[in-house]
Symmetry: C2
Subunit: 333 residues, 2 copies
Amino acid sequence: MAQRATLNSVAEAASVSRQTVSNVINSPELVSPETRERVLEAIDRLGYRPHTAARQLRTTRSQIIGMRIAPVGNGVSGVVLDQFLHSLTATAEEYDHRIMLFTAADDEAETRAYADLIASVGVDGFVLTHTHHDDLRTRWLKERELPFVTFGRPWGDEQAHGWVDVDGARGTRLATEHLVRQGHRRIAFVGWPAGSETGDDRRAGWEAGLAAAGLADRPQIPVFDGVEGGRSAAARLLDEPAAPTAFVCASDSLALGVVGELRERGLRLGADASVIGFDDTPTAAVLGLSSVAQPIAEVAAECVRQLRATLRGTAGPEPVSTLLAPRLVLRTT
Amino acid sequence: MAQRATLNSVAEAASVSRQTVSNVINSPELVSPETRERVLEAIDRLGYRPHTAARQLRTTRSQIIGMRIAPVGNGVSGVVLDQFLHSLTATAEEYDHRIMLFTAADDEAETRAYADLIASVGVDGFVLTHTHHDDLRTRWLKERELPFVTFGRPWGDEQAHGWVDVDGARGTRLATEHLVRQGHRRIAFVGWPAGSETGDDRRAGWEAGLAAAGLADRPQIPVFDGVEGGRSAAARLLDEPAAPTAFVCASDSLALGVVGELRERGLRLGADASVIGFDDTPTAAVLGLSSVAQPIAEVAAECVRQLRATLRGTAGPEPVSTLLAPRLVLRTT
DNA sequence: GTCCCCGATTGGATCGATCAAACCGGGTTC
DNA sequence: GAACCCGGTTTGATCGATCCAATCGGGGAC
């Protein structure tokens, strides 16, 4: 290839001015059909593609969305992030945007990274994940009126902002209801200690499921996440007089621990006891464990759509919030 | 904040010209110490950050590295990509570069994406993963003399290019040697049918390990990846007269299948038989399965370093290739 | 003292796009 | 007949950086 095709070279080739070519691209309705046709032909012939840096310099829009990539998905997670990033990127591309990654050690560092990316790259907006109570980041962004969406509800008393989340309570409730339909009456919940937003939400769904079936509340053994936690909780629950026959878990890690303990005791999954995990990790899939699946791809796509609406100014004054329903993936029967 | 700080506003604040400020940033040795000090102070006071789009427009360097994100890591994989992306991003940041994601359905679409990103965003180079025999993408990039590095060796007869890879054979050899030291004499390999580059590589390490220990080759049951494959291969191997007491596997999925079959037969992991997987997936970690771990973060960091050397022109004419050693992660004893 | 050289600094042009204003021919309006 | 409008188009200025050539003030050589 000889030289980069520019607005000017296209203009020359089509015997019109720069601006007309620009109009063909950005405001086609301003250009007469014949001229437009001629210009499009030239664009095609020269293989012209607008230069985003030049465009950004003039418009102050970079068409770039920033997304932090966390140090490493601890535990069984995995794939969740892959799926999220892929869907995010794919949806962004549909709207002619790009995803740029950045790292940050903690929330405070993340706000510094925002400042950096805004000033140097001119990023248009951000997608945040793992929102939590009293989130420094959302406050920082709101204060500066920078566009962003979060995957996760604003849990504390933060000011309103656009968000997308998965209805965890709905997921555990689905799981509980399924177990009830299977005939279980003693259904336990294995989850984290009260105080974690996501954890409390998931517990609430189980409680609601029990209540709706007319079943009494059951004792709980709150444990921290991890296989060992699940195992020890299951052990103690199974030692009680009226031992549970089914377990709804706040995570797949916990569920795996429960499964391990059941096996230890010679109880067979499906036949003697049922376990349902949360997140539908590959580990669950591989081991044939039922789990509540979050519609990750949908979440990411919705994040991009919301952000785009904000960026285009078509978003209305009230921030949009979207709560998506999870889906129960049944494996053992 | 009132207005964006620019080279001009900094120059004014420090009572020097634009160019001097630019020199302070890009060629500090050209500026006298006192002037430099004064300019740095002004930069700091105004919170100035160079505008990458403007810089790119002039220099034709975007400081952006493109990386395709694949549809979804099927199987147990997971986390591998997360870790890779994180390390890639973190290392890129050290060198003042950024990672931009893009999607592509297949190799051919990927080359089209390259063209697009080069023309519109002005991406400086690419990091490719999952190289394979007769790779369309590397050929395309070489033809146009575009900078790139691959995670994965050029398996076919492609022209030379920079790459980073993990020595799979070394990993399975390490695993085999470990099992030999444990006293095992009948060590089987569970892997994919011949013809997959990665698979053949891993098998070779096992063969070498056996040979070095003076052990004879053993029959193999090639199977496709997946838990079921592992299970059926193990079943057939265990039915043979001189059944193996240890299994080296080409993936964690296969290893999980083997473990399942062993359990089915009442054989206890560690005590009665040993299994070593490959990739050290979270699933392996959670289940206490030993596995060969790839130094993913190292690979990514090395990719960035190589690419940077190429971009700066400090790379010498011969493309660099780096083969990193995997590490054996022992869990069951 | 004059001339040249050299390190430090400056000013103008430029990258490729968009914005804002002007232009142009022809038809309306008053 | 002058003023105005109007769709379609052109021209000049601009975004914020770097490149390149020019300038400036001393110090050294002759």
